[in-house]
Amino acid sequence: MSGRVIVITSGKGGVGKTTTNANIGTALARAGKKVVMIDTDLGLRNLDLLLGLENRIVYTIVDVVEGRCKLKQALVKDKKNPNLCLLAAAQTRDKSAVTEEQLKEICEKLQKDYDFILVDCPAGIEQGFQNAVAGASEAIVVTTPEMSAVRDADRIIGLLEAKEEIKSYKLLINRVRPNLIKSNDMMSVDDVVEILSADLIGIIPEDTGIITSTNKGEPIVNDEKSLAGKAYNNVARRIMGEDVPFLNLEEETGVMAKVKKFFSGLVGKEK
C-alpha cells in the first residue's frame, strides 16, 4: 500500500485548518479508509482536542523523532473509529524540534500502512509550514471569503507551486455565509475561486454546530443532520475520487437561516 499524504494548510490562522483536518480525516475513516493525522503544530497543538483524544496521548511526534518510542506506539487510536489515529504534536517544544527530513521519513513509513496521511500544518509560512509540507504530495488550502485569508492563501499557493513534491493543490472555502453573500456583504465562492484561480474541493458553510462539536471533541461529520458535516463528507468523497456536486448553500440555508434568525429574534433564544 502507498497512502496519499495530504497537507492541510492556509497561511492565516483561525480559518479552520484543524477543524477541516479532523473532519476530513473522520469522514475518510468512516468511509472505511485507514487514516492517520499528524499534528505538526508543535507547541500549539489542538487536533487532539477536536478529536477528543487529549487525555490519551502518551507519546508525541517529538518522542518518535528523538527515539523515545516507536512510531506505532505514538499513534493514538480514535475512540469510535479504529480506522482513524492521531500522531500528536508536542506541546512543550517549538517548531525546530522536528526537521523536514524527519517528517518526510515519518510520512514514508506511515504510507505503507495507511490510505491517507493528513498533515495539519501550523499557521504562517515559516519553518513549521516547510516541515508540514515536506512529506506531502498533495495539499488542501483552506481559506475563508475574507480579504486577509484570501491574501494569505494566495501566498501559500505561490509557495506550494514552487515545491516540486506537491503535485496538486485544491482550495477549500470555509465559513461561507450565504446570507452575507446574498446581500453583497461577503465575497462569493466564485469571487474567491476567480481571484485565486485554483480548483475547488469544498465549500463549507458557517455552522454554529462546529462550536458545540469542538466543545464535545466530536467532529461534526458524525452529525448527519449538520450542513457543515455534510459538506465535509462531500469533500472526503471528492478526495476519494467521487464526483459530488457542491451543496447549494444559497437555496437551502439562505432562507432557512433567515427564518431561524427571525424566529430566534422573536423568542430571543437560539434553538
Binding site: 526537521t99 491574501r151 509557495l159 446581500s183 456583504d185 465575497m187 481571484i195 427571525f262
Partner: protein, 175 residues
Amino acid sequence: MKDIFAEFYNKVIGFFRRTEAEEESSKDVARNRLRVVLMQDRTNLTPELMEKMRKELIELLSKYVEMDKEALELNLEQEGDQMALMLSIPVLRAKEESEIEESADNAETESEEEADAQTDIDEEETGESDENADEEEVSGEDDSDDDSDDEDEFENDACDCGKCEKCNPKNKKNK
C-alpha cells in the same frame, strides 16, 4: 407558514438592502482591494517602484510626445492568468522631428510603439526598459547599489523555502 414568513422577511430586507447598496457593495470593495494587493504581492512591485517607473516613463516619453503628465496612468491588471502593465498616456501632440532630435541625443528607436495612446507592456519588457533607463542615468555607483539590493531580496526569498543553508543548520544544532 415558514415560507410565508421567509418571503416577507426577504422582501423587507431586500428593500432596505437595495437602497443601501446603491453605490458599491462592501463585497465589491473587498474584491477590488484584494485584486490590487494580490497583484503587488505576486509581482513584488511595490507602490514606490510603480511611482519610480511612472516617473521614468514620463521622462522617456516626453522626448517624443507632449502629454498630460498628471493624467498618465500606469496600472497592473490581470487578464486570466496573465499579468499586464497597462499604460495609458493622454497625448496632447506628437513632437516635431527636430524637437525630438534636440532632446534625444542617445536615440532609442523602439519607442515608436510607445507613443501610441494605449500601450500594453509585458513585465519583461518593462523590466528591460527600466534597466535601460538606469543605464541612461549612468552613475556607476547607483547601478551597483541597485544590483546588490536586488540580490539581497532574492536571498531573503530563498530563505522562505527553508532549503537554503540559513534555515537548515539551525535545525541540526537543535537536534
